[in-house]
Symmetry: C2
Subunit: 492 residues, 2 copies
């Protein structure tokens, strides 16, 4: 067993200094390990002692001792008292390189970092639309106007006194008093008909979509989606392997009758009836009833995404489709995240009683409970009246901003942008001339720091049908609303 | 237009009193709505005035006014000043019943509440194993020993001073200082080699499994899983549509060589190398290197679930497989939930740099960020030394409990339960006689309030191969450990 010149092995160390990220002992360990695995240090070969190596490498004895200890723990070296340290005799040959050709179902690109087909699709979607990486967050509420001090005070109060019971997994459906509060709120304010037993607390609408599509749809089953429609719903349906059927939206919402004539079979329909995303129209009563009748006939499901129904400025609020349903066909979803703040991560669904167990089981497989402490604080926030007060203030604020936006559009964009009438919600859709490229204009606006997603992105079938932009006003200051309109005036 | 006798319509109301859940005005609204939708009140028919109806039904005028207002808002009635209230003239025919036969790909069971095939499988799994609904939580840490006061104090401190920035969506990878802390911890304590850039904070291991399988596996691609193996991993692979290949585990861990001879092709291998779940063996260095070599040759991925590696009682900790890998094949996953407490919902993965963007994109589609405040508090908990102190205390506590369990087993179960040697972790696997039914014994133990999952449940192929029970000792008091063993002695 030749005695290796430790200088030869450790030559690189002399240039090495410890960094915060990679401690010196780890670097020593790594060098020796690599040398062993690469075959530069053969099995059975004797290594310099830790003392000698430390001296040669100008590191402390402690450093080399730690490195040797780890190498020994992993069985890469053997340390024999009185004899020294040796590279382990028995080790499988480590093949570090990729061997020749291999049979593979993937395209022979030589790219051994390839994602699945599904993975490539997800990543591609993220690259084309940066909002995709923001969890499809279409509408940012006004964070400046949120009563942060109150929220912090309530949170600190609960945090200080948190009991040990909070440490364990709670009710899989969510904190029971919050479910009661949500049920009560939905019954009185939204015309939903449910018990607290039917309410499941989740972390966001996306989770609700994923759970629902997984539970109710098999691969290749048809599902209706509004055209244009919400990207988050499209993604969930794609991930469930559904056959997505885009159904055009007109001024009364999803065109149910037309679709029934074309192809009535589907397992599920996704709708945003209060305030269609992205066009903003409200689904008429006639269409709601027609859809419910269809669902009954076809034994189909309806996913009602009631995402910003708290903010209605004109007219009376329409009761939820769920409240009109006597056949248990509707899964109703809502969220506190857009009404309160995005990082809250509390949303809810109301499911027909016979589906409750299935939803709990599905949630166990996918994880993602809403935060325990936040659920309790949210319940306090509702019970102590802060929530209704917050809604009132936001309603007034968003109405002001909507009116300001409409005014500015009329003044500066009368001939280039035609805005959909909108009695509700946190954004408007504006249409531009048919010949224009809304993706390009959106990119130009983004370069000036205005996030105005292009409408064409929300169409599955006919992307150039009605080019336009989504104008998110709720979380935008009046100053920025004016700037946004002026910018658009120059771009259009 | 005949004037209906309001008495005939409202007969049922006289028996009705308001309830907290269903306000009286809602009941009135509902009765009239149903009458209209059922056709009992035909289009164009004149209704009693709100005043008259109130008087006849012995409810307040306000009650009927509210009900009429809602009916009018929904377009079900029209109120004409001076003329009265009328059922709306134009409405589609509402078909409330299921019409005859319909073409359906579902079994013609007449059950219009049917879940998808996938949905039925999920629900069935939940029914057979109640732990499935606890998010597959195999090991409960000792909640009594958790430093709750310290945690609450840190939480309240941060909650009081939470800034507005916390309200928005943070870095999709998680709170950067926490990612730094995790990277540092993993590099020094676990032999993982990574930058903070490669760390993604999630809410649990299940989420990590779902994201990984979705991104890296297409349907029908083979994936290796340890046999017996973790149910959460099995569920994630099933949900991804993978072709699950169970690979037997022996005293050195996953039998890589045997599987390579049988069928070397797979896209991913799931391993628990520190402390195999459920058997508890540690994967030998030779097997680790063989698996890494295989992954390089096959361009396959390795999901390393390092779930309770913080608790090692004998021998030196082995470096993570990820640390031995020079080919970027390993996705490393760990969790604070078992080390701290289950409702914390903070876990992490370390991904090869080229996969970071893909994981962020996939997370956007599935939602489920770890709670913002808890991430900050966890960072403080680590930075201020409480975490390492907590680990030390838990290590000592769990070692005591393990030793107590082993002692008790030797005393009372020497001939009926043979326990796998276990140098680490929070549970032991115990084997019983081949002829015995571990499911039955598990149920009998559950009837006495001891949760001892049957080993056979964790096998895919040969369920009767090695019947046994999982003995979770970490979160079990010494008293209950003794009771548990005594109970088993009577059952076996």
């Amino acid at each position: 067993m030749a005695k290796h010149n430790s200088g030869a092995i450790i030559q690189p160390f002399r240039q090495v200094t410890g960094t915060v990220r990679v401690p010196l002992h780890r670097q020593v360990y790594q060098r020796i390990k690599n040398a062993i695995l690469d075959g530069a240090l053969a099995p059975g070969v004797r290594l310099p002692s830790a003392r000698v190596l430390a001296s040669d490498a100008r590191v402390s004895r402690n450093t080399t001792e730690i490195a040797f200890a780890q190498l020994e723990a992993e069985g890469l070296i053997e340390r024999r008292v009185g004899a020294g340290s040796f590279v382990a005799a028995a080790m499988p040959e480590f093949v570090g390189k990729v061997n020749g050709a291999r049979a593979s179902r993937r395209p022979a690109s030589g790219n051994h970092n390839s994602l699945s087909t599904r993975g490539r699709r997800i990543t591609a979607a993220a690259k084309t639309d940066p909002t995709v990486t923001l969890a499809f967050a279409p509408c940012m509420p006004s964070l400046d106007a949120f009563p942060l001090q109150t929220w912090n005070r309530l949170t600190a109060r609960r945090a200080r006194l948190a009991g040990r019971a909070l440490l364990g997994n709670g009710d899989p459906r969510g904190y029971p008093p919050l479910r009661e509060a949500v049920a009560h709120y939905l019954n009185t304010a939204r015309g939903v008909q449910c018990d607290a037993e039917q309410v499941v607390i989740l972390s966001g609408t996306q989770q609700a979509l994923n759970l629902t599509t997984r539970l109710l749809l098999d691969a290749d089953e048809p599902a209706w989606i509004e055209e244009p429609g919400y990207l988050g719903a499209r993604a969930a349906l794609q991930n469930a392997g559904a056959r997505i059927v885009p159904v055009p939206v007109d001024e009364h919402g999803l065109n149910v009758e037309r679709q029934i004539k074309l192809a009535p079979s589907a397992r599920l329909a996704y709708i945003t009836p209060s305030h269609q995303y992205p066009l903003g129209v409200t689904m008429s009563l006639a269409r709601r009833l027609a859809l419910l009748a269809w669902a009954q006939r076809e034994s189909a499901w309806i996913f009602e995404d009631d995402y910003d129904s708290e903010f209605r400025y004109d007219g009376r609020p329409l009761a939820a489709v769920q409240g009109l349903d006597s056949g248990g066909r509707v899964i109703y979803a809502g969220s506190f995240n857009k009404v309160m703040f995005p990082s809250l991560r509390i949303a809810y669904i109301v499911v027909p009683p016979q589906l409750v167990d299935a939803f709990i089981a599905a949630r166990a497989v996918t994880d993602g409970a809403a935060p325990a402490l936040a659920q309790i604080v949210m319940t306090d926030f509702i019970a102590e009246g802060y929530f209704s007060s917050h809604l009132r203030q936001m309603r007034a604020l968003y109405r002001e901003r909507r009116d300001l936006l409409l005014e500015a559009v009329v003044c500066e964009l009368a001939n280039s942008l035609s805005v959909e009438a909108s009695e509700a919600g946190m954004h408007l859709a504006g249409h531009i001339g048919k010949a224009k490229d809304d993706v390009k204009i959106s990119e130009q606006a983004a370069a000036r720091n205005f996030h105005l997603p292009p409408l064409s992105r929300y169409y599955l079938v006919d992307r150039r049908a009605r080019p336009g932009l989504i104008l998110n006003y709720a979380g935008t200051s009046p100053e920025n609303i004016r700037r946004m309109v002026r910018t658009l005036a120059t771009l259009l």
